[in-house]
Symmetry: C2
Amino acid sequence: MRPSPERHGQLLATAAEVFAAEGYDATTVRRIADAAGMLAGSLYYHFDSKEAMLDEILSGFLDELREGYDAVLAAALGPRETLEALVTESFREIDRHRAAVAIYQKESRQLAAQPRFRHLADTQVHFEQAWLGTLERGVADGVFRDDLDIRLTYRFVRDTVWVAASWYRPGGLHRPEEIARQYLSVVLEGIAVPR
Amino acid sequence: MRPSPERHGQLLATAAEVFAAEGYDATTVRRIADAAGMLAGSLYYHFDSKEAMLDEILSGFLDELREGYDAVLAAALGPRETLEALVTESFREIDRHRAAVAIYQKESRQLAAQPRFRHLADTQVHFEQAWLGTLERGVADGVFRDDLDIRLTYRFVRDTVWVAASWYRPGGLHRPEEIARQYLSVVLEGIAVPR
DNA sequence: CTCCTTCCCTAACAAGTGTTTGGTAGATTA
DNA sequence: TAATCTACCAAACACTTGTTAGGGAAGGAG
């Protein structure tokens, strides 16, 4: 009746890996139980439902990301430095919560429509405000170009950051800070040699 | 026994919309039949299986995209112009096959592992070669920066282009050519004002 | 009118789904 | 030693899944 937090976390991590690898809907609880070395029913000693696992996985990541973003904004840096910090923070979160980010990236749109996952939509609005505000401030300050559709730019930045979770492998060739550096270099200066 | 091609295409388009909106695994054939105004079993007069629908939807899009890319490469333009043409062609395909692209973007990774969808992996290699080759040629010619990880840049370009399918709405504010223009402007020159 | 083709419905199938219930081995506590 | 708690198993539950088989209404062709 009172499962240990350690085991709880272990199983949650296992579930996250399977969800990320095979998709939430395509994943059966028996598949998760297999990966954890137990039977399907036994999972219900630790969790209320399959949905509850997903909820906990996403919330764990999103709460931490929100904290990270808020800390960046609280630092009150210039717009360019804020953008750099937001991007770097994002790639760090991808490094720490790769599976959760991959799941979020794939399922958030449909989940946000479900009543149970309404909080995803709220969180998205919060993040959007962080990015859009920074971009607008940058345009106003003259450090970002003013001839771009700012909403389109926001989507470009957001999407490219988060899709990285689909190919990023922790312990791989690139550290998150290095990816952030290269990514920022492209977004800020472009890939063309100035002519 | 010999369904008409028109009805076949209609139903395929309906299925594509539902797949794109709710995800392939989460979509039941009864849901598709509902959207088409018929019963689940009736679909099997037109299609062999749910998988066959998906296969046909993806192949229709991928074949056309492959033709488009090949035509661009055959034109033998400079690297920068080739990149511009590839991006523009991609956004045009998103405009024409929005649903198919959204499905492809979300499911291709897992599908490529299935034997039936092996051809997806082949196609991906083909596309990767088109992009990577263009980037490499550009670096060699001195029109693209040589201080970037070219593979990272490729992923950046690829992901941002295709992820647009998840928010793009045909008939919306932006025409595909306009999106391509703005996108290219960001990728080539960056969002920062040169200092 | 009759035959044939097209397109759909009705009704069911076996397999797989998330979940529940009752039980139990083994450690921990009293 | 006895009682309790933790973490799992065994077996089943109601329901949904993709799919199939047979039938029939509508319309054109002979």
